[in-house]
C-alpha cells in the first residue's frame, strides 16, 4: 500500500461549436481540404485586426453558468507570445489576468459519496493551425490554417482529484455538461475536447503539494486515466528511491503506455502576456447573462428525474440514458416513434448499449435509426415476431442499419398467428405421434413440451407460442 496521495488537476480545451471562427468570419467546419477555411485575418496578414465572435462569448457564458461559475462583467483578451509556424500572428489571443468565468465546480460520484471538483476559471481563446509533416515532400513540412482561430474555452480545475478514476469521472461529467449545452461536440479523438493533466504526489496527511508534472497528448478518456496512473507510479518510484520529481511537461506515449519527458521548467516559454490593444475589454451586460441563463437547456440530472416521472422507467435506466445527451435524445426519439417507454428503455440499456459499449463515439456509432428501433419493438408487441427472434433481428439491424420489417420479411421469420395454419400443423403432429398422445391423455402432461417442440420445428419456430399452447391443449384434451 502506497503511503502517497495523488493530487490531480485538469486543464480542458473545449472547441466551441460556433459556425464561424473566434475573430473572423471563416467557417469552423472540420474536414475541409487544407487552407480552404482561411482569410487575411486568421492567417495573420499584416494590417488585419480581430473582431470578437459574439456567439462564442455566449457559448462560454452558457458553459460558465451551467458549471456554477461567476461570469465576469469585464474580462480582457491578452496576447500570449511565442513563435511557431502554426501560429500566424506570433501570438495567440487568449485571456490571462481577467478571464470570463471564475469559480464553479463539477460534481462527481465517488465511493465515499458525491464530491465536487472545483473550477478555477474558464477563459476564451483561439486555436492554432496544424502542421502537416507527410504532405508529399520528404523534407518539408506544411501548415494548414483551417483550424487557426477556431474558438476554444479552457476550463481549469482545482487540484482536487485524488485518483485516475476521479479524473476520468470529472472529465466525463464535464464533457456531458458541455455536450448537453450544445457548446462542444466533446470528441477527444477529433480533438475538439482536449485535456492536459497536472499530477503530483505527496505523503498522505501532508498539506503542501509535491512537484507536479504536466501531461500532454491525452487523446481518450482511457489515455487520461492510464497516463495519470502511470505518472503516480513513476513519481512514487522516484520518491521512494530517494530522488526528487522535476517540474516538467511530459508526453503520453499511448502505444508504449508511458509518459516521456518533453521539456523541463527551465525550457518553459515566457509568454509575455499583455492585454491585446486591438480588442476592447469584453463587457458582458447583466441582462445578457440573465437571458443566457433562462435559455439554458435541461441538464442530465433534471432530465433523469423527468424520465423517471414522465416515462415511469427505473431510475437506474434513467441515469444510464441521460449519461449522454445524444443517448437521451435517441431514447426520446424512439418513444416519439411510438414505442412504449419501458420497452424502449430496456432495448436501449440492454441490447443497444452492449453493442456500443466499447465505442467512444457512443450512440453516434449506432446505425439503427430511432424509428427503426421503435418499429422492431412494435413488431414484437403486436406478436408479429417473437421476442427471441426480435433479438436476432436487432443484431442484423445493427449490422446493416436496415428496418426491422424488411429483415423480418426477407428472412421469412414472421410469427404465424393464423390459427388455421397452426391448427393444421398441430393436427399433423398429433396424427404422427399416437404414442405420445396416449401418454398425455394418460396424465403425463409434461409431454406437451414435446408437441410444442415438434410444431415449432415444423414451423421453423414461427408459430405464435401462446396460440400454439392453447390449440395444442385444446386438441389433446378433446
Amino acid at each position: 500500500m502506497s503511503s502517497y496521495e495523488a493530487v490531480i488537476g485538469l486543464e480542458v480545451h473545449a472547441q466551441l461549436s460556433t459556425e464561424s471562427k473566434m475573430f473572423c468570419a471563416c467557417s469552423t467546419s472540420a474536414g475541409s481540404p487544407p487552407n480552404t477555411n482561411i482569410c487575411p485575418v486568421c492567417t495573420g496578414q499584416p494590417g488585419t485586426l480581430p473582431v470578437v465572435n459574439r456567439r462564442a462569448i455566449e457559448m462560454a457564458i452558457k458553459a460558465g453558468l451551467a458549471l456554477g461559475c461567476k461570469i465576469e462583467r469585464r474580462s480582457i483578451f491578452a496576447r500570449k507570445n511565442y513563435f511557431y509556424p502554426d501560429l500566424p500572428k506570433g501570438y495567440q489571443i487568449s485571456q490571462y489576468e481577467f478571464p470570463l468565468c471564475l469559480g464553479g465546480g463539477v460534481t462527481i460520484s465517488t465511493e465515499g459519496g458525491k464530491k465536487t471538483i472545483s473550477l478555477i476559471r474558464i477563459h476564451l481563446e483561439e486555436d492554432a493551425g496544424k502542421l502537416l509533416h507527410d504532405y508529399g515532400h520528404p523534407d518539408m513540412s506544411h501548415v494548414d490554417f483551417n483550424r487557426c482561430g477556431v474558438p476554444l474555452i479552457e476550463i481549469v480545475s482545482g487540484p482536487d482529484m485524488r485518483s485516475p478514476k476521479e479524473a476520468g469521472d470529472y472529465l466525463r461529467t464535464l464533457r456531458n455538461v458541455l455536450v448537453y449545452l450544445d457548446v462542444c461536440e466533446g470528441n477527444l479523438q477529433e480533438g475538439n475536447f482536449r485535456c492536459d493533466a497536472n499530477v503530483s504526489i505527496r505523503p498522505v496527511g501532508r498539506k503542501e503539494f509535491g512537484t507536479r508534472t504536466e501531461m500532454k497528448n491525452l487523446n481518450s478518456f482511457k489515455a487520461v486515466e492510464r497516463s495519470i496512473a502511470y505518472e503516480i507510479e513513476r513519481q512514487t518510484k522516484v520518491l521512494e528511491s530517494g530522488g526528487t520529481v522535476s517540474q516538467e511537461t511530459r508526453l503520453w506515449n499511448d502505444v508504449a503506455g508511458r509518459t516521456e519527458s518533453m521539456r523541463s521548467k527551465e525550457e518553459a516559454h515566457d509568454y509575455r502576456y499583455f492585454p491585446d490593444p486591438d480588442l476592447l475589454p469584453l463587457i458582458v451586460e447583466e441582462d445578457w447573462i440573465a437571458r443566457t441563463r433562462s435559455g439554458l437547456p435541461e441538464l442530465a440530472g433534471a432530465k433523469a428525474e423527468r424520465f423517471v416521472s414522465n416515462y415511469e422507467i427505473p431510475r437506474a435506466d434513467a441515469l444510464v440514458l441521460t449519461d449522454d445527451r445524444a443517448l437521451a435524445d435517441y431514447f426520446e426519439a424512439v418513444i416519439a416513434s411510438g414505442a412504449p417507454a419501458r420497452k424502449a428503455a430496456n432495448w436501449i440499456t440492454a441490447e443497444l448499449m452492449r453493442e456500443i459499449k466499447d465505442d467512444e463515439r457512443g450512440i453516434a456509432a449506432c446505425p439503427i435509426a430511432p424509428a427503426n428501433l421503435a418499429g422492431l419493438i412494435k413488431l414484437i408487441e403486436e406478436g408479429k415476431i417473437s421476442g427471441k427472434i426480435g433479438k436476432d433481428v436487432f443484431e442484423m439491424m445493427f449490422k446493416t442499419g436496415r428496418a426491422a420489417a424488411e429483415i423480418v420479411a426477407e428472412l421469412g421469420v414472421e410469427q404465424i398467428s393464423d390459427s388455421s395454419a397452426i391448427e393444421s400443423a398441430v393436427d399433423k403432429i398429433i396424427a404422427e405421434n399416437p404414442k405420445q398422445v396416449e401418454q398425455y391423455r394418460g396424465g403425463k402432461t409434461a409431454v406437451l413440451a414435446y408437441f410444442v417442440g415438434q410444431v415449432m420445428k415444423a414451423t421453423k419456430g414461427q408459430a405464435n407460442p401462446q396460440m400454439l399452447n392453447d390449440i395444442l391443449k385444446k386438441k389433446l384434451e378433446t
Binding site: T43, T48, P85, D278
Partner: protein, 481 residues
Amino acid sequence: MTAAQLSSMLREREISSLELTKAYLDEIQRRDKKLNCYVLQCPELALEQASRADERLAKKDSLTPFTGLPIALKDIFITQGVETTCASKILKGYIPPYDGNAASRLKAAGAVLLGKLNMDEFAMGSSNEFSSFGPVKNPWNQECTPGGSSGGSAAAVAAGLAPIALGTDTGGSIRQPAAFCGTVGLKPTYGRVSRYGVIAFASSLDQVGPIAQDVRDCAMMLGAIAGHDPMDSTSIETPVPDYVAALKGDVKGKTIGVPAEYFVSGIDTEVESAVRAAAKTLEGLGARVVEISLPHTKYALACYYIIAPAEASANLARYDGIRFGHRASGNHDLADLFKASRTEGFGAEVALRIVVGTYVLSSGYYDAYYLKAQKVRTLIKNDFLEAFKSCDAILAPVTPTPPFKLGEKTDDPIQMYLNDIFTIPVNLAGLPGMSLPCGVTGSGLPIGMQLIGKPLDEAGLMNIAYAYEQATAWHKNIPVF
C-alpha cells in the same frame, strides 16, 4: 494647386483625371529622383483608375470630392495587388490579398493611386532615414530630413508630387514631417479612422490621417476616411460630421491653452517665437489665450518608449519567414529559420525596438515597466482632460527644433526620440492633433505649430486651424528644388 481646387476642376470637366494623373506621373518621374518620396509608382493602375474615374465624371455617377483625384499612400497602407512593404526588407515582394479600410474607401470614392510613399521602416523613426529604400530628402533643403515616419507623404505633398497623401501617426509621424515640410497634417482621435489594413506598429497609438496642402484639404480627406469600421474593434461609432462645412474661420470666444511644459529650455528660439507669434495671431482673431499646465509631460517620452515597443514586439512577431515576406535561404532548423529570417529582414532600429519591447514584457519586468507605463499614460490623459476644462484647444510647438540635417541624429537614438517629445503625449491621450505651418527659419526652413483638440473634436480643431490659415500666408510657401 490644392486637392479641393483640383477636385472642382475635375468636376467641372476643366481637366480630365487622365490628364491630371499623367501630369503627376510625369512630375514624379522627373523630380522624385532628388527626393526619393515614392517607393513604388503604379502608373498602369493609376491610368486605368483615372480613365474609369473620367467615365464616372462624364456620367456624373456617384461623384465624390475624390473622384478622379490622384492621391498617394504611405507604404504602411495595405493595397490589394500592389506591393506593400512598410519600407522593410522583411516584406519585400509582399502583395497583399486584400484592401485596407482607407484604400478601399478611397478606391470606392474614385481616387487614383499614384503610388506608395517612403517612410521609416515599420513607422519607427523621426527622420525617414530608417527606410530600406533609403532616406527621403526635405524639398526645402535636400541636406535636411523631411521628418518621419511619414516623411515620403509630407515631402511629396510639399514638393507637388501628390496633391494629398495619407500618413500614420503613432508618436508624431504625421505632425512632425508635416511641420518639417511646411504642410498640414492631422492625427485624428484614436478610433476615428479604422486601422484595418494599416500595418500595425503600436496598436493602441497608431492612427491614420491626412497630410495636405491646407486645412480644407485635410478636412476633405478626413471626411472620406473617418467612420466606424466593423473590422476594427477600436473604431468609434460616433457619426462623422461634415468637416469641410464646419470650416467657418471664426474663433471669437474660443479659448486656446498654451502649456507651460512645452516651452522648456532646449527649445529652438525660432520655433518658440513662431509659436508664440501664432498665439498672438489667434488672439488678434478674437480667441482668448491662456496658459495651462500639463504636469506629467516630462514622463511621456519614457512612457511611450515602453508601450510602443511592447506592442510592436508582438505586432512584428508575424514576420517569421513562414507565410510571406523575407525567408532566410539555406537549411535551418525551425528556431534558426525564425532567427535568420528576422535578423536579415529587420533594420537596426526596428530590431532595437523589438528587443526593448520584448524586455519590458518579460516575466519579472512587466509590472515595473509595462504596467507602470500604463498608469503614467492615464495620468497624461488626465492632464489633458483637466486642461480642456479651461480651454477649447491647446497650442504648442510640434517639435523642439526645425528640420535637422540628414545623418545628424542617426547614431543617437535618444536625440532622435526627443524630437517627438511634444507630439507623443497626444498619442498617449488618444486626442486629435494637427500641425500647420506658422513660420520660416532664418535659413528658410518651415516651422510648424501644433493644435491639440478634445476627443472627437476634429471639426472644432480644424476650424481654429482654418481661421489661423486664413489670416496668414505660411501655407502658400512652395519649396524650390
